[in-house]
Assembly symmetry: C2
Homo-oligomer: 178 residues x 2
């Protein structure tokens, strides 16, 4: 049987959600030898400062590259939780940042609420690594990409000189999930 | 009547095709107030070093974010020309880089073959601005985004300190098209 895994990364512009989408897609496709698409929609939300990126991972060609039945939602703002919870499938995973999200979604979901941005700021020492902390959570909770593949993709994608800080952030996210 | 314009940007990894896809999508959506999606597929081609990015611009919501009937194809390698010409609609635009492309496509297309990479290297002084020269060609030939919008999106997206060089590359591309 073929598999298809849909991830939506949502929050505000500047939170680095497109970067982690690209890292996930490259990890899956270049290092894990699956197929992946990564996409962004721009519309009225983008003009209001919201950001949304989608990654679809499959073992087959991906003919419809839009997420419609989400397996995992990362929501880094309250607005993103409120807007996108309805697109998550029953039993799906929702990861939220307790730094920004005060009202958690109800319903048949696995909700993981962590102080992602606070940890990035206080433990990693760089608030902008919050996206990579979230990536660690996604890797552990989804089990859809391998640890090695993500590490390779992080090294290939983050600015030179920041690799070790980012890997530390990734490891911290994985730990949180455990 | 609603309009939908499909662009595929194809070539090799490292040619900056994803960046210009993002610039086009942001120009259309954030500055021109249209809707846009930008996507990448990763699969066997990505493992072989090929790169492909798609941008769809519309005045309506974009429900199917995959290009199937291409209005404009940028092909920065011979492989890209050979592989994607068949997806361009009759009368569509194909822009090729004569530095890499030796066999031009036949058929009912408007083909524009320019030494894009050579111009970037010799006239702009930076080979890596070839993508932005191509962006100037795309803007003029497609007429689907406004000049102002692209300039704003370039300023927002290229590395700090490189704005003027990139705008020079963009202007040179526009000139070529005229």
């Amino acid at each position: 049987m073929s598999f298809r895994y849909e991830i939506r990364l949502s929050g505000a512009g500047g939170q680095g959600l497109i970067l982690i989408g690209k890292i996930l897609a490259e990890a899956a496709a270049i290092y894990d030898e699956k197929n992946a698409t990564q996409s962004q929609s721009y519309g009225p939300e983008a003009r209001g400062g919201a950001s949304r990126s989608e990654v679809i991972i499959s073992d087959e060609d991906i003919d419809y590259p839009k997420a419609t039945n989400i397996d995992l939602l990362l929501a880094m703002t309250q607005e993103a939780v409120d807007k996108y919870t309805a697109d998550v499938k029953p039993g799906g995973i929702i990861i939220t940042d307790s730094y920004f999200v005060k009202n958690l979604p109800g319903g048949d979901f696995k909700v993981y609420n962590f102080p992602i941005t606070e940890i990035a700021e206080n433990e990693i020492g760089k608030k902008i690594t919050a996206n990579i902390v979230a990536l660690g959570l996604i890797e552990k909770l989804s089990q859809v990409v391998s640890d090695d593949a993500v590490i390779n993709a992080i090294r290939a994608r983050v600015p030179k000189g920041t690799e070790e800080t980012n890997i530390k952030a990734f490891r911290r996210g994985q730990q949180l999930a455990e």
